[in-house]
Subunit: 480 residues, 2 copies
């Protein structure tokens, strides 16, 4: 294997040669730096123009100083949004806004940008709906690039965290026959041939009816033997794995065909789902709490917060400085019953947005963990215990400002017979395989699902979840 | 933020308390170790039983020594597959097969495993089709758990590699209106309401025809404004992002509704897709080559290769020791034309499996990069150049033993007008947004897609791709 290591080192050196140095790594004066990047803004003087360059690999920009002789505006109009191949010497800048600047020796306009047609101008703000109409172009605006970079960093922090704790990332399927939550708001999946009519069926005038009538229609062909849909959660599949690999997780898309139009819902969203062998819901809450703090610590130093808002960063720092506030459902109901409510609350009901907002006031903007909800308003798979008013689920929800309900978790029912009874009561079909997991070496286990987009909403103070993903999908909207 | 860091440290300590130490970290004698894990095999003697324990977090097993007085076989039959809560002292083992063993003080059978009903026995091999019928249970067999752990490790290595090179992971959508390859083998997605008949349509006897005839059918309701399907590739979306963030990648599911039943095809598979600003296809090949070597280096030390085969590990070491063999399509054709072929080959045709296998013989089992295919057999988005026989695509395919074609990559056409012409020639609709990417600050860029499951096939010498994922989906098969 010595050869392989050697080659690896050589390749590493060769790659450094092939790939240009990112702008954020250009930290000391040097000659003959070459960049292929975008012009973000242009300031023209008589003999000289100043240009701010970005490669998008960070929020750093590099000022290039270009002598007028290098630049013929008639031949090639250099404007915000265009791309250039540019080289020169990196020197100490006499200006106050930057340490270094690029004294340009060669300049090549690679891709023009017609300012009259380009929908965005630097330093101008636009209506969010207009920006959404240009999903393919809006990452070129600094605030969207910043959000994507923050997402990248926090996802990596999640991986690092779970890998340190010996969790194994599992490739769970997106195509599935089971509906985890039993909520039914799923997308169906068909092979393209399934939806083709077996014979062309034009609008049928009465005179030609006899032509179509007697044929008994063939059953439609199906690619899969039964109806498949897009997963609403990887939990049940992770439960299959956790009976062999005792700590597992996945980060991938989940789908809900929700009709609700809200600033916190997408029909395709990213879920971090975790399942582990454990005997207590407290452990699961603690793992969640440390994870969120770890993710925040990994992103809070990013320069992107200059774009996203440094006041907000201070607010999150304060909110996450202490342990999360924990309260039982029982106590949360008592807390709310003392308040003026538009939607009155009785024990046994789920919280509405109004209630969640009041509870976040109660926690003074700190993350709030609510535990032990009534079992009857929670899904069939949760382990339960007896409470004052009836059966309680061994579960928790985590509420955050901006993002709302970001995490839901629970211990899972490990007893085969109790589980089977819950499934029958909920009239859910097709879960024989899931019940069978409890027949051979069943273990106490639980986990949680974390909405990555909503957490990103909170960290970056993004009002609407549609601005946290490059190509958001929601009802009536699927561009590109 | 000082408080937050403090809390973080405290939590870290608390988590170590909550989570049991993984078996692979139990490396020195100590008292009062507690485990919640599975029994993988049992050897009974007169007064004592030996039990091999696994927590699935690695291939490591721990031998527990249990005195007969702790174990009443009538009350609780301890057998392979059952789960136990077990504690005792970890001491030097007198046996030759392990350094340490657990002298058991307490034993609690948590989940029984009825050997008569459990489909798998330790050390017995089964027909692969039988194993596939128990997708929810087969991860309990060591070879499947090993493959999942190797996948976890190689995915992490890919992330580490790209993060070091300043790439940004992007959340690309799975629901989409565009068909990247133009191949048309896509899955369609519908809201559950879309497929409900607007009125019940029973089999129609001739006498009742007049009841149905005159009504003009309402257009079916659609959740999305136009037909959506599951993505076949994230490339086009990554291209939107690479015009702002100049190095991007994604690792996620892609879907092809292929009718081909083969040992190398799944209809849901994992793709690592990469896009970067670059001016040469050579750079893209080098990045691919270093990536694959890095992934191999990250997994080859894993003890899981004791299960998966150590001879194979040596073979991969040898194959990856030197640089990958590179050959142009032109030269590959010349090479093949000298051979005895069942499927004769003329310039301009794509390679068949027979040809690929002969080319891998030519490279003597080393990874083979074939570059510059005829443009007419490659997709519309590839940049081209003139060659001896006509236009050549600035592209490459990477062939590996076992996995076959694992990577495909290319430079992309950056010129708006040329791109538009290719799209019109291919008669592909709905790509106006994609063409528009070239209108504002277009850049030379390219990338590749790597089939993660196929690479895993190669690394672990898994004959059929269906054994590399926990819940494989292929034609007529979608369990759970």
């Amino acid at each position: 294997m010595t050869h392989c290591y050697m080659t690896f080192t050589i390749l590493k050196r060769r790659l450094a040669h092939y790939l240009r140095t990112p702008i954020h790594n250009l930290v000391s004066p040097q000659t003959d730096v070459s960049l292929l990047c975008w012009v973000r803004s242009v300031r023209k003087h008589k003999d000289i123009i100043f240009v701010d360059l970005s490669d998008g690999l960070s929020s750093h920009r590099l000022q290039a100083v270009i002598h007028a002789s290098l630049w013929d505006p008639k031949k090639a109009p250099i404007s915000a949004g265009c791309s250039v191949r540019i080289s020169g010497d990196l020197v100490q800048s006499p200006g106050q806004n930057q340490q270094l600047e690029l004294v340009t020796k060669e300049l090549d306009l690679v891709g023009e940008c017609d300012a009259a047609k380009y929908p965005f101008r630097p330093r101008k703000t636009y209506n969010i709906d207009l920006e959404r109409n240009f999903q393919h172009l809006r990452p070129r605006m600094e605030k969207y690039a910043a959000v994507h970079r923050v997402r990248n960093r926090l996802t990596q922090a999640a991986h690092a965290y779970f890998q340190e704790l010996d969790f194994c990332q599992i490739q769970t399927p997106i195509l599935t026959t089971n509906d985890c939550e039993g909520a039914g708001e799923t997308f169906l999946v068909n092979h393209i041939d399934d939806l083709k009519p077996t014979s062309p069926s034009p609008p049928t005038p009465p005179s030609s009816l006899e032509k179509v009538a007697p044929k008994s229609p063939a059953p439609p062909p199906t690619y899969f033997p039964s109806q498949c849909h897009l997963t609403v959660s990887s939990q049940l599949h992770l439960e299959a794995l956790v009976h062999s690999i005792s700590r597992v997780y996945t980060i991938q898309s989940a789908f809900r065909a929700e009709n609700a139009l809200s600033r916190k819902h997408l029909c395709e969203f990213t879920m971090l789902e975790v399942e582990l062998v454990t005997e207590s819901v407290d452990t699961i809450v603690s793992i969640t709490e440390e994870l969120i703090k770890r993710m925040w610590l990994s992103v809070r130093e990013m320069e992107d917060f200059k774009t996203l808002g440094e006041d907000w960063r201070d607010a999150v720092d304060t909110a996450l400085a202490k342990t999360f506030v924990r309260i039982s459902y029982d106590d949360a109901v008592k807390e709310l019953q003392g308040k003026q409510l538009t939607h009155p609350l009785t024990w046994g009901c789920d919280f509405k947005v109004e209630h969640e907002n009041l509870l976040l006031e109660f926690s003074q903007g700190r993350p709030l963990v609510i535990t032990h909800f009534p079992a009857k308003i929670k899904p069939f798979y949760m382990a339960t215990k007896d409470g004052e008013h009836g059966r309680l689920a061994e579960c928790f929800d985590l509420l955050l400002p901006v993002g709302g309900e970001v995490v839901g978790g629970s211990m899972r029912e490990m007893d085969r017979d109790k589980l089977l009874e819950s499934i029958q009561q909920a009239s859910i079909k097709g879960l024989e395989w899931y019940v069978e997991l409890r027949e051979f070496g069943s273990v106490p286990h639980g986990g949680f699902g974390l909405g990555v987009d909503r957490l990103l909403q909170y960290f970056t103070n993004t009002h609407n979840i549609k601005e946290t993903v490059p190509f958001p999908r929601w009802q009536k909207h699927c561009q590109a």
